[in-house]
Symmetry: C2
Subunit: 268 residues, 2 copies
């Protein structure tokens, strides 16, 4: 792993950083293919939207672009960007003139089983739910304990992901992926206006589908609707799209759209 | 500020620490009086409850007790303990055998205006609400963006604190304090079983009141009830108890209990 902390390789983080103390910051996870960070512009756009929502000044774009390239300069890998509000005093009150911290790190490609893309993945329901807060919804902030607890619910390596509901029983996402539901041949994706993350690959999948003349309906989805669905599709920045083959024992059809989308993605 | 990172003074934090990346950890803020951390046992008890809830192994008690004493060895100050799940790979899944990180830091006493304890403090309502999640309620975890956003809502130094509601419109707490409501001469405190923190000073105030034969009712509190209340009292580990003199312009009576409690607290 290669890490740049405010541009300095191998530096540590100040223990008074608000990212550590309050999760007061944002992150992005990018897939690198042939040394090029995929959808870099969209990732930086979401980071920028999150920074505006939290009131964190964003580091210069050129710095981030440069460090992303240096963190994983060639081949296939993963780059993570973290931006926090930086060092602040004790107490929640944000400093009047924050000096944001940026951490850009490069990681090995995790190399999931290729069958995930073709045969599909097994899913389960998580008991841990997502609290609803419109002020934090959609953005990729650093308060991720709900996802951590949800992901800790199972050990079975045969189960790739867990689906999460919000406090009110609506389906929102998987622990590390967005969700598309195929019902009556139509594509639906849960709204992320009260919780959940508006994923970059969710955006890409949706744009791809709409380009093909298939509108995607974004709305509240009740858990019961998944019992009626023909297929489920997971998307995230690293995997692209995975079809689900099973949800807690119920078989699901592998939707042909995923293969088409992933083939398109390879050409991006 | 004096900081011990896993016992080493002045060390930095690993950028891959899960505390930084996901807020995957806990903290405590302790008042030090005459070189002694007040209610240390209760703070460590809550830390331990939080660690059990999140599945984080707690560092040895002797290490924490020793570092608390070294972080602020004499006089009046503040000690902060942070415990995270430590370094973990990318992704939410907790490592099977986590090696927790501990950060113990000593800070100057913030020295609020003495009138806060006697004349009382002005309060406001915050617009930022608290998402409900029973799995994270009561404990003092590191996911504190809601409090950060709430505290960023006002600049007026004359307003000491802001009250927060949950997603459903129940009153829960102030941004950095618990709340007691005096209504019909009786003490009520909001339940913290879906969000909010079960404060150590909340525990102390409640134990003190009950010792005097005054039961405290813990229950869901509707925002409207605060319009009927005679008095409001804030508690936290540093301030003890502050009476409120005003909420968004409405005058409140300074409750005599706060002075009695703070006098008792001085003798602890």
């Amino acid at each position: 792993m290669r890490v740049f902390v405010d541009g300095r390789e191998g530096a540590g983080i100040d223990p008074a950083d608000r990212g550590l103390n309050y999760g007061d910051g944002l992150f992005e996870t990018l897939a690198v293919r042939d040394g090029r960070a995929r959808f870099l512009g969209w990732h930086l756009e979401r980071l920028s939207a999150g920074a505006a929502q939290l009131g964190i000044p964003l580091p210069a774009r050129e710095l981030l672009v440069d460090e992303v390239a240096r963190a994983w300069p060639q081949g296939r890998g993963v780059v993570r960007i973290v931006v926090t509000r930086g060092v602040g005093g004790r107490g929640y009150r944000p400093p009047g003139y924050p000096r944001p911290l940026r951490v850009v790190s490069g990681w090995e490609w995790p190399a999931p089983d290729p069958a995930c893309w073709t045969r599909g993945v097994r899913l389960r329901w998580c008991e841990t739910r997502l609290g609803r807060n419109p002020r934090l919804a959609g953005i990729k902030h650093l308060n991720r304990l709900e996802q951590v607890l949800a992901r800790a619910e199972w050990d079975d390596p045969e189960v790739a992901e867990g689906l999460m509901m919000d406090d009110g029983g609506r389906v929102i996402c998987a622990t590390q992926a967005n969700l598309f539901i195929v019902a009556g041949g139509r594509l639906v994706t849960p709204a992320v206006d009260a919780c959940g993350v508006a994923g970059v690959m969710r955006r890409a999948f949706r744009a791809w589908a709409e380009e093909r003349g298939e509108p995607v309906v974004e709305r509240a989805v009740a858990a019961g609707e998944l019992q009626e669905a023909e297929s489920l599709i997971l998307t995230n920045a690293l995997i692209g799209a995975w079809p689900a083959c099973e949800l807690d024992g119920r078989r699901l059809a592998v939707d042909a759209r995923t293969a088409d989308f992933n083939a398109w993605l390879e050409r991006q």
